[in-house]
Symmetry: C2
Subunit: 419 residues, 2 copies
């Protein structure tokens, strides 16, 4: 049985208990929210992992993307990225590999991972076709389903499926400055265009759901037409796809499959809240999984910051799950250090929003940090800060010696003044 | 005559013309807004500098704090910080020096600076007293006015004056987790407490205004009681000081002195907009100069990000001028590299908000970036991005060779797909 099927029966599963306990939320609330579709639990039936919940009244979760590319495939480095993402508190990880031995990479990463694991199976489906000397347009739905089945058997907990990108929306995307910037979306666009056919992920959606249901894999409905620049945000193409995602959300729910929906992209700061409200309305409250939104197009090298600015506003408006961006976005595959920076930027957002939603763990940690500051207790500060190593490094390289203050104000430290 | 005095007469000054032209705003609008107090122009009469405008309907401006501390005073390094702040687009710089030869540091920095220059004269006043072997409580208003006069003569364009920190508010601050975290505020608190006297900056406010008026220096009313942790935000102490700042705003306006008001601090994400609305209401629309707000207490090492998240929301709600935070905040005096990171984080915010307010320069730059991306034209991308050096570094270290895409997707690059 899937979590949704448990919820239809009114039966509290072991996974619901774990999530309820971890979040400090009542078990019945988790059950009801899974039933209404506003909460998902990530855990493939065959994956031995602590389940996590995402959605209504739960703490904000963050995801780190890792994985190889055709010009940069080094398994050891990807394992290191996984480890650093976990160390700094990423709740999940997604393997987006398209380079090297994709099966081997996934199997090893999933074995090493202590957190729920996601993939985008369409990447491997297209990569395999090209490796076999064929062309993009030669991919068949049967090839895709075989790849999906492998991912399912390996224990993947959630998968991105770009089934909402229909021909009509593809046509609309051609009016844009940046027609398609999603890797999966662009590959599918080429396939549809060359075959003069509807998106096979849309056409064979029920077959896809059958596999996902068997393993209780959460479907993450991909936004192949997420806007790739500020000027394209909230346009016809994006909204056409969103309406299809709303339809696909209900079809998955009806089959007993749990659903998340992915969202933009590059969005101007004054359109972010409307985007979240619209998505939640059209997709009937399904948890919203966002990338950014990036609030400017000119921040390459610092897109983790441009993304964090957008993510905070989105999370306050109701986004539930934040995909990190790293400083390498738009420039290269991220390094291990980029992964760390990306995770921390996302953690700042999730912590800031958890704080205002009354999350007891976030509030407690914040309080302890202030107490440590008031006492100029550096060891305690390093304990509660998001990145202890980085904070320590700053203090060490400032050569403060025996002084209890820092080099910012020295003896003029405000905390030392008596009044 | 000061800019305010020109505005009372309905006379458009050369400075107003320059600002109007630079911002693409009508000269009369600048004049009217200076008259109503919602715009200030930074330019000391004796300072040979291009004036900049801050406030209503103008682009968002950013400031970089530089300057020495008692344990870290290296003039060459501070000059380097000034240069890098200017290079990456800081609109102004403030010299917060309290270490080494403060007069010499300021004189050299102001000579090197091509952008408006601010100081916090109370720092030097207290530093001089301590250097003379006396105690905090020995400072006299005459000592302070002498320091202020020196800064004025050197061409300082704006000064922070913590005149709103009264004894009543000081008492209220004692209930806090972090009573006073502002350097100037804490020093004044100690002075008030030990002398059992009202804040001399409040008592002798008219004498201060007389000096500022002579040079048309903009007063930046300091928030000595800005909250130093999320739990202290928007409390009695902060609001008591804000009400006094409202009174002091009008007194300065009446004297013909231009006014900005400084704001918090650590503020939870759901209180930021209210803080801006309240400040604008109480201080009658005077331009608001913000530090952060920081949306969490646990981001040391990444406070430029926590600050950017708060600043974006604040700027959308009406904040006009953003003081950067660097990754070194709460840990040490910033390095040259920290200054660069802090400036870029603030530029991302100002650009994102300028975009949604229809600023033509911001929109144009953003458009050009998207065109460059669509064409995979890396040289054009590096031209329009906020930090060309960092973006180039990423591309170079990714060893992409002759490939036109990046190592993120390689041959799977969405921009290369045909549909």
């Amino acid at each position: 049985m899937t979590q949704r099927e448990y919820s239809f029966r009114g039966e509290i599963s072991q996974e619901m208990k774990t999530v309820a306990e971890n979040e400090g939320v009542k078990e019945n609330e988790i059950l009801n929210n899974i039933k209404e579709g506003t909460v998902v639990i990530l855990k493939n039936k065959v994956h031995n992992i602590k389940p996590i919940g995402i959605g209504k009244n739960l703490s904000i979760k963050i995801n780190a993307n890792i994985g190889t590319s055709p010009y940069d495939f080094n398994l050891a480095k990807e394992i290191e990225k996984l480890k650093i993402a976990e160390k700094y508190g990423s709740d999940t990880v997604m393997d987006l590999s398209v380079g090297g031995d994709i099966d081997k990479t996934r199997k090893i990463l999933i074995k090493e991972a202590k957190i729920p694991f996601g993939t985008v199976p369409i990447y491997q489906a297209f990569a395999d076709i090209l490796k076999a000397g064929k062309n993009i347009e030669d991919l068949k739905i049967t090839d895709f389903l075989k790849v999906l089945q492998k991912h399912a058997e390996d224990g993947v907990d959630f998968v991105t499926i770009h089934a909402g990108l229909t021909r009509k929306a593809l046509e609309a995307s051609k009016k844009r400055k940046m027609p398609i910037v999603s890797r999966g979306g662009a590959l599918l666009g080429e396939w549809m265009s060359k075959n003069n056919c509807e998106n096979f992920l849309y056409e064979y959606y029920d077959d896809i759901l059958d596999i996902l249901k068997e393993y209780d894999i959460v479907i993450s409905l991909g936004d192949g037409l997420r806007p790739g620049c500020i000027d394209d945000a909230t346009d016809e193409a994006q909204l056409m796809e969103l309406f299809v995602l709303g339809e696909l959300t209900e079809r998955a729910w009806d089959k007993g499959v749990q659903v998340m929906v992915e969202g933009p992209g590059h969005v101007p700061y004054n359109q972010i809240e409307s985007n979240i409200i619209l998505q939640k309305r059209i997709c009937k409250g399904a948890p919203f999984y966002i990338l950014g939104p990036l609030v400017t197009d000119i921040a390459a090298g610092y897109d983790h910051i441009a993304g964090a600015i957008g993510a905070a506003l989105a999370a306050r408006a109701g986004a539930d799950f934040l995909c990190y961006l790293t400083p390498a976005e738009h420039l290269s595959l991220p390094s291990v250090e980029d992964v760390r920076e990306g995770v921390i930027a996302s953690k700042i957002v999730s912590h800031a929003i958890d704080l205002i939603r009354g999350n007891f763990k976030a509030i407690e940690r914040n309080k302890k940090m202030s107490e440590a500051r008031r006492n100029l207790d550096w060891d305690a500060m390093f304990k509660h800060v998001l990145d202890p190593e980085k904070a320590r490094e700053y203090r060490e390289k400032s050569k403060i010696g025996e002084h209890i203050e820092c080099t910012m104000c020295g003896d003029f430290c405000s905390v030392k003044r008596k009044f």
